[in-house]
Symmetry: C2
Subunit: 317 residues, 2 copies
């Protein structure tokens, strides 16, 4: 495993792929692995992209990738599909145009799906970002499918977040849920050659007018990603947002907040493991379950009882 | 609060509404409240209903409600929208036809949205079910909007789960994700007057043929819920599934599994609270965050360190 990390730092794509699989599969060595790579992280800039299915996020990502590559930036792309139990190519695999990038040594593309829980997916995504960060990517694009709470959680790991809309159809501004609108640092109205573009832009601006409280007003860009139109303006807005974050000290704040969450999660993870190890040794659990099933005890009192038995509160010491 | 529980058990709708608000808002007395009502739970039968937006779940729920009321069953309806940060009427409030039930003393309707996290929504839904169970409802219908992992989590609390599809459009069988198909105890092809009904039924059956491994093969019913067609057959299938669960012992197994999960969650909840209380007293957290931000320590080692400092491992005793 240490060899794998060494290979990663030396630029091996194979090592990157294997390490991401290990974090995704919750490999027993995962924590050591993340400890090893941690000192090499913190340099990549993470851009989140979300929006309703059919809004053309994928071709937009494709265009941005080309733009970034023309400036010789090393890019990682993580496609996250919370509705899919599959991973490793499920979403991006069918993108023909992505194949041209697949041969590009400085682009790394990876898909992730839920294996089990949503919480697990958000964590695996964060860990995959760390692997690609240590791998030396300058930019990491995280694209999520859908517009639910799960996407909001995943996007929390991004430094800048783009929300993609289209002029017509069911994903108009009103139907985009409040939580999504609030995470946008940049709006992109894609498929802007369709009728209704002006109205969509106006609606977004009206909404932004109502909640003008921050130091950054998200710009609204229009693109036709299948023809590559408007991409440069999007890329410029993203760079502006990055400068804003850096100069205002917001980037430091965001990253500090992220560390707080990470440390909180790690503590709770360790605690949980330790507790269940102790419980397993003493096999009180199943008899408590039976008591609750027969309504001789409620789950809340049973939880207390269990923790007392494993001496968690230290009272019987 | 004890008065509120007394009122609930005596049949006060007002008390039911207030208690659900308390669990939803994570009231500090929530645990005591759930302890109080727990002995009065375990009698209601819970039916989960999920399916893509636009599949007509709401009018289907409406029809089922009428059917159940004609048999004098007391019914609770919980509408869950994981994409909405709002609750208390947001989803169901606009349903004109639901208003006739609103005057019916033996029907209780409630909407819930995410306030914060998805995990929180699934828990609040489970707790609302307990309130309505203690309230004396015979049947509790839990309707979820959408077809993501979040819905799967919520539906885990149901004894029988219905998945609603329509013949045409984007929610055809292929696009319904694997996780959703696997939780179905009953399929309903609604809007069955639209073209494509036969094909949809065939597709579902083909899929069921491929994974014939359980003792229950989910039946496929066709309905036109706006005209009330096919509802009786759905209701009969639901009752058959309930009988199957009861006679095969599966219902006991399902409910035991649910108790295991509940007890696990309660234990972890208590442990977390205790840990963070101890951490707060000793204020190590922020200095560790700074160390990590400056890459002088990784979050994994920091978590260990923190737990050692609060004497979690008991080594310094």
């Amino acid at each position: 495993m240490q060899q794998l990390v060494k290979d990663l730092l030396a630029g091996s794509r194979r090592a990157a792929a294997r390490l991401i699989s290990q974090v995704e599969n919750d490999d027993p060595h995962k924590r050591e692995l993340l400890m090893e790579i941690f000192p090499h992280t913190g340099r990549a800039y993470v851009i989140g992209i979300t929006g309703a299915p059919g809004s053309g996020k994928s071709s937009l990502v494709d265009c941005l990738l080309q733009q970034m590559r023309s400036e010789d930036l090393k890019v990682g792309v993580i496609g996250v599909d919370p509705t899919s139990p599959f991973s490793g190519g499920a979403i991006l695999g069918d993108r023909i145009r992505m194949q041209e990038h697949a041969l590009d040594q400085d682009v790394f593309i990876r898909s992730m799906g839920t294996r089990g829980s949503l919480g697990g997916l958000a964590r695996a995504t964060r860990e995959a970002i760390q692997v690609l960060d240590a791998f030396g990517k300058d930019i990491i694009l995280v694209e999520t499918v859908g517009v639910g709470q799960s996407e909001v959680d995943i996007v929390k790991t991004a430094d800048s977040t783009m929300v993609v809309l289209t002029p017509a159809g069911g994903d108009s501004v009103q139907t985009i849920k409040a939580g999504i609108m609030e995470i946008a640092d940049l709006f992109v109205v894609n498929k802007a050659d369709l009728p209704g573009k002006e109205r969509t832009v106006t609606e977004i601006n009206l909404m932004l007018d109502m909640k003008e409280d921050s130091r950054w007003r998200p710009p609204v860009a229009c693109t036709v990603s299948v023809r590559g139109e408007g991409i440069e303006a999007v890329w410029q807005s993203l760079q502006e947002h990055r400068r804003f974050l850096e100069e205002s000290g917001r980037l430091q704040e965001i990253r500090r907040e992220r560390v707080r969450r990470e440390l909180t999660e790690q503590v709770e993870y360790l605690v949980k493991n330790q507790i269940w190890d102790r419980v397993k040794e003493q096999i009180e659990f199943d008899s408590l379950v039976e008591k609750i099933v027969h309504r001789r005890c409620d789950p809340y009192s049973a939880a207390y009882e269990l923790l007392e038995k494993i001496d968690f509160y230290g009272e019987t010491d």
